[in-house]
Symmetry: C2
Subunit: 313 residues, 2 copies
């Protein structure tokens, strides 16, 4: 099979042996696979794939059809349309995935959207509901709302009855984010736009003091992105006064059983919203596998709404 392959800090296309599904695993012919920030870190050598994932094939999510099943794999049949988060190796013509990680693709959703769905919607759903316990009527602030996780977070918050405010740096993207269900603001001065019950922090340390300033009593800040910096100053006195929570989270290093729980949560609480037409996957651009280097360049260049997706067949 052919796959996106990391060689000396570049992403190229290379031949690899076809993977074989082990016990409980399914072999998927990948049709589409989204790009994510972790791919960029891995390309730079900073974020190695976890044990059990191909070390040199990037890709944290995929959508495709089942073409074979390993011993004991029974949740899906050959030909089923499936999608999943994977530890790595998603940007390839074939990939093996444990069946407990797979989700069925909603009937009306195309391959491209499905290939860009799992990582950002699972990340946003886990952060907003499992970690932060977002409830209807609460006031949610999503930072970096034009990105993949941001657009998912805005939509999930709005669908759950929260009042969503979205900070978007790029002026040209603000109308698009507003169309997802948020009141859109510039990042500058967001601290005075609160109070917020939940803050979805995708930028990192530079925002943290202002996040706390803008937080309501008993509010929760969930940090799932630190591209803007990791070292934050935190005033514990202000935190006590607000009975505030700062929680940080990431999906990739979790063990299989915890990732499987997030897939079940997606099946119960998110995929039905896709089937009812309440959610969508904004796709900024698609690229064929042969143009994978261009796809990575586009991903890092910014100024886009939603996902960059590789189309493999």
């Amino acid at each position: 099979m052919r796959a996106a392959t990391i060689r000396d800090g570049e992403v190229v296309v290379a031949e690899h042996p076809d993977p074989q599904p082990g016990a409980g695993e399914v072999l998927v012919r990948v049709h589409a696979a989204g790009l994510n920030g972790a791919d960029i870190h891995q390309r730079a050598g900073h974020y190695p794939a976890p044990p059990g994932s191909p070390p040199d094939i990037p890709g944290l999510e995929l959508a495709g059809e089942v073409v074979a099943r390993g011993p004991g794999a029974e949740r899906f049949a050959e030909g089923d349309r499936v999608m999943a988060i994977v530890g790595g190796g998603g940007q390839a013509e074939l990939a093996t995935v444990h069946e407990r990680q797979l989700m069925p693709i909603p009937a009306d959703l195309g391959w491209t959207e499905a290939g860009g769905l799992p990582e950002v919607f699972t990340t946003a759903h886990d952060a907003l509901f499992t970690q932060a316990g977002l409830r209807p009527g609460e006031r949610l602030l999503v930072h970096g709302a034009a990105g993949g996780v941001g657009t998912a977070g805005v939509q999930l918050g709005a669908a759950a009855g929260a009042q969503v405010t979205a900070s978007v740096r790029n002026e040209r993207l603000r109308d698009d984010v507003a169309g997802l269900g948020a009141t859109v603001i510039a990042p500058e001065g967001f601290a005075e736009r609160g109070p917020f019950d939940v803050v979805l922090e995708l930028v990192g340390a530079p925002n943290l003091a202002d996040d706390l300033h803008a937080l309501a009593t008993s509010g929760r800040i969930v940090v799932i992105g630190i591209g803007g910096g990791a070292k934050a100053d935190l005033n514990l006195g202000a935190m006590m006064g607000k009975r505030a929570t700062v929680r940080a989270s990431t999906l990739r290093p979790r063990p299989l059983e915890e990732k499987a729980l997030t897939a079940r949560a997606m099946e119960r609480h998110v995929l039905p919203l896709f089937e009812r037409g309440l959610l969508r996957v904004p796709v900024a651009a698609t690229y064929p596998l042969d143009a994978v280097a261009e796809a990575y360049e586009r991903f890092t260049s910014g100024g886009k709404l939603g996902k960059i997706v590789l189309e493999l067949t």
Copy 2:
């Protein structure tokens, strides 16, 4: 009535009009009232009493007997032995308390112990279980474990089946804390004694980086004391790697209904442990009301295990 009274940064004894119970309130003849850190802050003018509490009478907790009831107060009868957290005014011969804040005193518990029980056990129980979700088998670290909240936290953790480690600065108090059910360590080097699932942080900012270093995956740090400092450095990248939670909390500013919830939690989950003899209130020293200034000096001088309690009758 006579009461401890804050005058120009000193605590003296003064005469006040007898308080009258309002709707839903009970008049309590106070037998014992513990001292707490907030009293010291209030004496220094830094921590004014919340609205509805006497502005110049300190005291966040009390134990006594019901002597009168306001309109609609029905939970207790005249003569009942009761104890409570109050917003202020506890260190007085008489105090009014909303009946939803009152708890019955366990049968075998004396006035002195009951007067020093509500604040520290409610604080520790709320922090460990409501805020941090401590579960049996988890590893708990209690900082400042020789203090009032610390001794309560150690005992509650041990009674709940947690593995409790306690940091105690004063060497002379370490055996006493070990007797409450903990493995006792010096504060120095605690970061290497983990991993801990829950850290009860009673010291503040200087410990936070080491708390995070010593934290287990999915661990929770609950900050309820910042006497050592409020401004902490927090590495959000390390937090993400551990999926860590930092939560800060304080009881005093909560509205009546939330405080009443903590009293109900105490009645359900803590008072039965006292009745079974599994918990006790360590009392370092008692003082009559006329010696209230000495009681405050003793409270701030350190080197004690457990509570300083005023005995009013």
